[in-house]
């Protein structure tokens, strides 16, 4: 299909009903692969957080199906899987082989993301590939669970170029032995890897069944048509957007290493008829710290932002990505080069990159949202503990407030846009690891006010009960707040504070431990009874607060306890009667008429 074919009708050779059946069968196979991983894995990152994705590719190395797991992986799969297969050489693959790698520089995601690929053979030839990417809790390196203030990939952990993990259905035990002897979680890491492998064998069976049922030729034609349909629908969508170049910027507040320095991500969204280029030229050089994105990560962020803007239902597969080009200059923080650290690029730079793309769209579309909390809340706990069975590592993820949008308030306490991950339930974490949760609630002290306000973040207090627990973190938005859109106000900041056993006052990491950053640090030691406070941001607001429906303000105050009477009046111009718990409509009208609505926000800068 050519770049100028947007206006063309979708021409397919397959029976359209059969096309839908096979397309949904393949997508459901990806879902089933994920469920198998969830049910058979060992670590909470797999079976609670669901930080993995499952995909199918055709023999031409185009993605023919994906399930809705982790958006952060999707762009990486599009580029990483073909690169890994080409590097090994499809001609060198045999039935029962499995390719494995975690190299972020080869268009991967970040070092904790492990990729496994299995060629599917039918009558002696490769007809498809199944693959999954999953986040391993620990990969060795200088901190438990991988997130801290690293300065290069060697501090992050062990790196594997593409290699064969299985040959002829037989595991290469030497590789497993190297892998598990380099991590703090050998048993669960091995179990998680086997869950990934099992999921690939499940895909093999499903592919064999569908081909047996409909025949190879029909299967392949449907795959081809499905890709073409998605491409055409995507081009038709892009053609509805106005041609132009839309520049947007977002700021990463610090890197945990260099004091006081900020980094800018700059993206120019180029709409050209039925194609889009996301050009990151002008983004700052790579950080010294770990917040650099790999190419795959930057591609994921770009695809994520674009797909959020799509109206209607376009089946997600490789066809969607054909009209999209990502330009990420090597050596910048959106295309890190060896040996730059990338571990936090996929967690904390990634959501800001998505929001930068959305901010570019906001210059012509009302579907865009204000910035979300901009951090995955990655806090690693680790050390040696009898309860955990020796060395342990646990990666804590936390929800944030999302940005308000044209038709609704932002979501509360939800994982950032790039992850789609769940938190680890309190009961699971407390059963396995030497910590307990003293508080866990929405944090309603900060708010990104707006016609549609930002969602609220969370407030959590951990108390440590192990002899020594090492705490490391890479969290964002301690300094720079989530931006508002179209007159909406900024959201709130992240906070991490500590207090020793018996103390009343909280102290930040910089004050208590002398770290460079308030939210990016490694191996702070907590003792029994010490506590840690963790507050995640509220998303930015969308639209002028004075345009918010007064009844929604009334609900926020009287029904949900989210804001005070004073805030309702001062920010929203809504006068409430506490006796009747109703809106004083005439007083509200007067209040709002006396206010200025405020200047239009600069849509390009974050």
């Amino acid at each position: 299909m050519t770049a100028s074919s947007a206006a063309e009708a979708v021409v397919i050779k397959s029976d359209p009903f059969l096309l839908e059946i096979i397309r949904n069968y393949l997508r459901n196979t990806c879902r089933e692969m994920g469920v198998a991983m969830m049910r058979t894995s060992y670590s909470p990152m797999f079976n609670e957080a669901l930080d993995f994705s499952c995909v199918l590719f055709d023999s031409d190395l185009e993605m023919i199906a994906q399930a809705n797991f982790c958006p952060a992986h999707i762009g990486a799969t599009v580029h990483w899987i073909p690169a890994a297969i080409k590097e090994i050489g499809a001609e060198n693959l045999n039935p029962g082989d499995i390719i494995f790698t975690n190299d972020p520089y080869r268009a991967g995601a970040h070092l904790p993301e492990f990729l496994c690929i299995k060629p599917f053979f039918h009558k002696g030839e490769i007809k498809a590939y199944s693959a999954n990417i999953a986040h391993m809790t620990d990969i060795g390196g200088m901190v438990p669970a991988a997130f801290g203030d690293h300065q290069n990939t060697f501090q992050e952990g062990i790196r594997f170029p593409p290699l064969k993990l299985y040959e002829g259905d037989t595991e290469k035990s030497d590789i497993f032995r190297i892998m598990i002897s380099n991590v703090r979680t050998p048993k669960s890491s091995y179990g998680d890897m086997k869950a990934m492998i099992g999921s690939l064998y499940l895909a093999d069976r499903r592919l064999e069944e569908i081909i047996e049922h409909y025949g190879l030729e029909t299967f392949q034609q449907c795959c081809k048509d499905s890709l073409d349909v998605s491409e055409t629908l995507m081009r038709q969508q892009i053609a509805k957007w106005p041609n132009g170049e839309y520049l947007a910027e977002g700021i990463m507040e610090d890197d945990g290493v260099v004091p006081g320095k900020q980094w800018a991500i700059r993206a120019t969204l180029v709409v050209r008829d039925d194609e889009i280029i996301v050009d990151y030229t002008g983004s700052d050089p790579a950080e010294k710290g770990p917040g650099n994105q790999s190419f795959g990560c930057t591609a994921s962020a770009s695809y994520n932002g674009i797909l959020q803007m799509v109206e209607g239902d376009i089946p997600y597969n490789g066809g969607c990505y054909r009209p999209l080009t990502i330009i990420a200059p090597p050596g910048t923080m959106v295309n890190a080069v060896y040996p730059s650290s990338t571990v936090a690029g996929n967690s904390d730079t990634h959501p800001t990159s998505v929001d930068v793309v959305l901010r570019a769209f906001a210059q012509f579309s009302d579907r865009s949202s204000a910035a979300d909390g901009g951090t995955c809340g990655c806090i690693g706990f680790g050390g040696i503990d009898a309860k955990a069975g020796g060395a342990f590592a646990h990666l804590h993820l936390e929800g944030v407030g999302w940005g308000g949008r044209e038709d609704a308030d932002g979501n509360d306490a939800l994982f950032v846009k790039n992850g789609n991950c769940a938190n680890t339930p309190v009961e699971v974490a407390e059963t396995r690891y030497p910590l307990i949760n003293m508080e866990y609630a929405l944090d309603v002290n900060g708010c990104g006010h707006g016609k549609h306000r930002g969602g609220y973040g969370t407030r959590r207090v951990f108390r440590f009960i192990g002899d020594e627990v090492e705490v490391s973190a890479h969290t964002n938005r301690h300094i720079v707040r989530p931006w508002g859109l179209k007159g909406g106000l900024e959201g709130s900041n992240t906070q991490i504070k500590f207090r020793r056993n018996g103390e009343r006052n909280w102290q930040g990491a910089r004050e208590m431990f002398g770290t460079v950053s308030p939210g990016k640090f490694s191996n702070l030691v907590m003792y029994p009874g010490d506590e840690m406070l963790f507050i995640t941001p509220c998303g930015g607001g969308y639209g002028d607060p004075l345009e918010r429906d007064p009844d929604l303000v009334r609900q926020d105050v009287f029904e949900d306890d989210l804001m005070s009477l004073d805030t309702a009046r001062e920010v929203y111009g809504v006068v409430l009667d506490p006796a009747t718990r109703t809106v004083d409509e005439s007083a509200t009208r007067v209040e709002r008429e006396t206010r200025c609505s405020g200047a239009e926000a600069d849509l390009t800068r974050g």
Binding site: A83, R106, I277, D279, R322, T325, A328, P329, P330, N335
Partner: protein
């Protein structure tokens, strides 16, 4: 044993992606360059070059043979 580290591999002159294997070779601004796809080659010529001139190759390392 042979092993080539990633900083010794080529990158697409358009998108900047690492290319562990040989892809499309071409000459631009008197330099040998490599593209990951025909799409990237086209975008390089009709977007990057008009916009950035020779700066279109900024950050792209010299092509090596492997």
């Amino acid at each position: 044993m042979t092993y080539r580290e990633v900083n010794e591999m080529n990158r697409c002159a358009c998108c900047g992606k690492l290319l562990p294997t040989g892809e499309i070779r071409a000459i631009r601004f008197g330099r040998e360059v490599e593209f990951c796809s025909s799409k990237c080659e086209r975008v390089f010529d009709d977007y990057k070059v008009p916009k950035y001139g020779e700066g279109a190759l900024e950050g792209i390392p010299r092509v090596v043979n492997y």
